[in-house]
Symmetry: C2
Subunit: 194 residues, 2 copies
């Protein structure tokens, strides 16, 4: 691996996790990394793309584990997997990542709380989102397409806010509570059409 590139990723990960993305200047990052300012644009192109690289470096294994878990649950339950299992399969690997690398989760939190979700997440989590959306849809056949889509959005907001936007380290416990809450929401009977 290129040394300069890695130094930049490490420094950016640490500083963005601590101070946030907007509050962390490239000049601060490069001084921590001990490299030249222009190397950021040489290796990554821009500050935004540096952030994306920071995310991508850690996101891949998390998403692999998510898909593996979902595969297993689908094999075990051929057909519709219980909603809470699907949610667990999505959330648990993030908690594992948090245990081995807290910095990464902090960065994800910063991304969420600074509203860079769309740009960064949709690029890196596309397949995962498709798979999990399909699994949930299958397990919630009673909902209309419209209501299902809205409930996915509600979930998205709750997840982002909870997993990333709030400090603390006991992610496994947090996940158990979140899964319970979201299951209740998803499985609520449809709202009346007025």
């Amino acid at each position: 691996m290129n040394d300069t590139k890695t130094k930049l990723l490490d420094a950016a990960e640490r500083l963005i996790g601590e101070q946030g993305f907007a509050a962390t200047s490239l000049r601060h990052i490069i001084s921590e990394a001990g490299v030249n300012l222009a190397s950021v644009h040489y290796h990554f192109g821009s500050k935004d793309e540096l952030l994306e690289a920071v995310v991508m470096r850690r996101a891949a294994p998390v998403n692999d584990r998510r898909l593996a878990l979902l595969d297993r649950y689908e094999a075990e339950n051929d057909g519709a997997v219980p909603v809470d299992r699907i949610l667990e399969a999505f959330l648990f690997p993030m908690a594992q990542a948090a245990a081995s690398n807290p910095q990464f989760v902090r960065v994800m939190g910063r991304i969420v709380s600074e509203g860079m979700i769309q740009s960064v997440l949709e690029k890196n989590f596309h397949t995962v989102l498709l798979r999990f959306t399909a699994a949930l849809r299958k397990s919630l056949p009673a909902l209309s397409d419209e209501e299902f889509r809205w409930r996915m959005l509600f979930m998205q907001g709750a997840m982002a806010h909870t997993m990333c936007g709030t400090p603390g380290n006991d992610f496994e416990h947090r996940i158990a509570l979140l899964v319970r809450f979201l299951s209740g929401g998803f499985e609520a009977s449809p709202a009346e059409v007025k």
Copy 2:
């Protein structure tokens, strides 16, 4: 009312609603308002405080209506108000505001999606949050304090993301769906302690 101040608030509200907070420069705002750059800092102190003033101007009536609705429901149900009524009382006035002033809701959406929630909202919505938290707590006596607090956070994330972070205009319908989902989550039986 001071003319310069109002011109600044109007221009800021419009531009931030259209382009977002970060993307809207003070120089753009003042040129729309037809005033001088330094007047921003004279009247508001900083760009952040200008945003806060934009929010405060519209938030007060919404919060008044929220509290009035909650008062009514509490009087009607003396003791514990049904969870879905409480949620409605919180969300409905925002939908009304959206109908009469779409710019405001857009600004709130920008605030959420750009992660300025904590700083801005906690200042302006403090009493409202206390009242609604207390009402919900009363209606959910079976939950532990801890699980209740977490569910409040889950709700917060879902609400912010939904009400403000996603485009579209049919807020009343959206609210009906959101209330249903959140009621299901709040009323789910407690997660098992493992």
